[in-house]
Symmetry: D2
Subunit: 208 residues, 4 copies
């Protein structure tokens, strides 16, 4: 396919590989993003299911684990341009059940919960500093949506010089076209996209 040919000729799509210390960040797997009547749909439900094993492995290996979720103030005082595009995001207040992380992936003590108002888990949050304290150099990114908050988090991880790894079956989107397009873009420019089984194998080989 000729599009791939352009990318190859220009040297894109090289591998970042795993560094020495990985962490897992799970982006926005909340009830609201797992519900097609709110912000869910597409293959998000399946991605939640596949992420269970990944989270379990991360915990078993003692990897730092962070969970992001979208939270706006009750009075929407911190709403902005992002909510101009998607006004219903403002419903995701702290007490709204839709804002809570799905039961299958409930955070444990010591795991970071990142409340955010923007697409990227890094923007206006303490995520980068939290990872720096732990000397993390590789960030496995699961969650949703692939073309939204996952991608924004992956691009920022790359800019922060954390090697982004995307387990393709652990990310989902409300629509499959944007999901596939963002997997392609991320794999060419920002991250290594692979199956969660490949990620699990690599994590087992890292020193802990």
């Amino acid at each position: 396919m000729s599009e791939i040919e352009v990318y190859r000729r220009q040297g894109l799509g090289s591998r970042v590989g795993f560094g020495k210390k990985a962490a897992l960040v799970i982006v926005d797997f909340t009830n609201g993003f797992n519900d097609p009547n709110v912000f869910g749909g597409g293959n998000i439900g399946e991605a939640v299911e596949h992420t269970r094993g990944l989270l379990e492995a991360a915990r078993r290996h003692g990897l730092p684990v962070a969970h992001t979720r979208v939270i706006y103030a009750d009075d929407a005082a911190n709403a902005g341009v992002f909510t101009m595009k998607s006004p219903r995001l403002k419903e995701l207040t702290k007490s709204n059940p839709m804002s809570q992380i799905v039961p299958a992936l409930t955070p444990r003590a010591g795991e970071l919960i990142v409340d955010k108002t923007e697409a990227s888990g890094f923007f206006g949050t303490g995520l980068a500093a939290w990872l720096a304290l732990r000397r993390v150099d590789t960030l496995v990114v699961a969650g949703c949506t692939t073309s939204g908050c996952v991608r924004a988090t992956v691009v920022d991880a790359c800019s922060h010089n954390l090697r982004p790894i995307v387990p393709r079956d652990c990310v989902g989107d409300r629509a499959l076209g944007p999901h596939e397009a963002s997997l392609f873009d991320m794999d060419q420019k920002y991250a290594d996209v692979m199956s969660s089984n490949e990620v699990l194998d690599a994590l087992a080989r890292l020193e802990h």
Copy 2:
């Protein structure tokens, strides 16, 4: 088309509109990104051409104008994960002719030149502060590539609460699939995508 239907039902794709003070940022329209043998190709050449009128109008209206370009140190001391994915980026040193902005869009005195190493024009740069000083609330983003540095800059503009406007004929990519996919995503979630003629009309109506 059913994908659009999901987005509409969930309230995505609302308009941000123009605020009170717009600026223009032109992303990475350098010789290297305008050359299919380096990082160019696709519809980038056409986008450069269409951006000429936009730049001229921005200057006529006295809008702040910024130009970004990718620049790495001669010894690649500041290379990182982004160059692991695209090693040839490291060739874009300050003295490389490929790093210079295309002659048709040469910056003028008083315009900001943002040298960057990451995808987003905001990451690790003074762009946000420069726009804040000028009380800019609306950012027209031209440049390339649509699915790369333009999109990353647009997502960050949205997070910084600057209303992103994307003139679709003034952004280009090395491949049309990713170009179209990112236009769709940006229009649904981060920016208003419109023709450059519509942008010109809106700029003429803004107070200056």
Copy 3:
């Protein structure tokens, strides 16, 4: 005094003045920082008292108002280097009465509450983007401590190209030496330091 002479000769200490749109940020005026047995003492209590009139005027003029406070997770999952220096900061969890803003300055609906873990109100928060949305170019900074979170917030405001104004009687510190030293430094390098009466006069003159 000869120290001042060096500063004058090198051109430091020029005035930033007021821009076109001011906001007020009140830094860490919480019960814990108003209590000498926790993190308070010195002239912090007086500064709280003087800030009442300033807050009232800001509200009367319709200025954007933000309040910052230090909040750590119940499990201290987000503690870091700052709490290595001051371990008791970790006690400032969301439900601790010491973390609440002092009753005299209780936030109103629409005012931004910035929960932070670091000294600066800007670091890892949405404050800069919130001010950008409101086209703020001038930031009046009250709060405590002068040599700690106030100064860090002022330095960041300056870097974000917001003109920092420090009403000297509305900032306080647990010890007067550091308080005075930081007022001097800020006035020379980052902010205009003046009395709150001068600030009130200037705010009355700004268009709203």
Copy 4:
């Protein structure tokens, strides 16, 4: 002395210690900041001298080394609030000899040169990401001025969760009052302040 007593009672001034991987950043030791007729004076010259051995040791141990300097565009297009306070900063263009790092500390290939317009070496630069790539958790900060760019860099290092270490004889200021006051504040709240000999001993003990 009673001021210290307050700090001790509130638990400030604990030690951060050295982590596992240190880097050295030398802040603004340029010709202009080493010249009393530009931005120098006080004990800056001595601090430059003491930094020679520190830099040599850092290189011998293979530590990452970064150098910051203030650089404004020739047309001052990127000047802002910081230059409103200190207008002569705008003279520090790239080609001005005053902007060059002092000959005694000339950077080597592979060392990072951070051109910045603000006080902190982190603000609007790639420094944090550069350190993240190298898994640095401890940042030794030399340079000038103690109460200006050194302190701003130290506060940001702390916020980024890098343990800041300040070798007190390797930092200098144009005036000794602010120098001492900032050493006190940093030692209480953000950094471990010690002699450069103590730093050299600690570096020798770190694994490399």
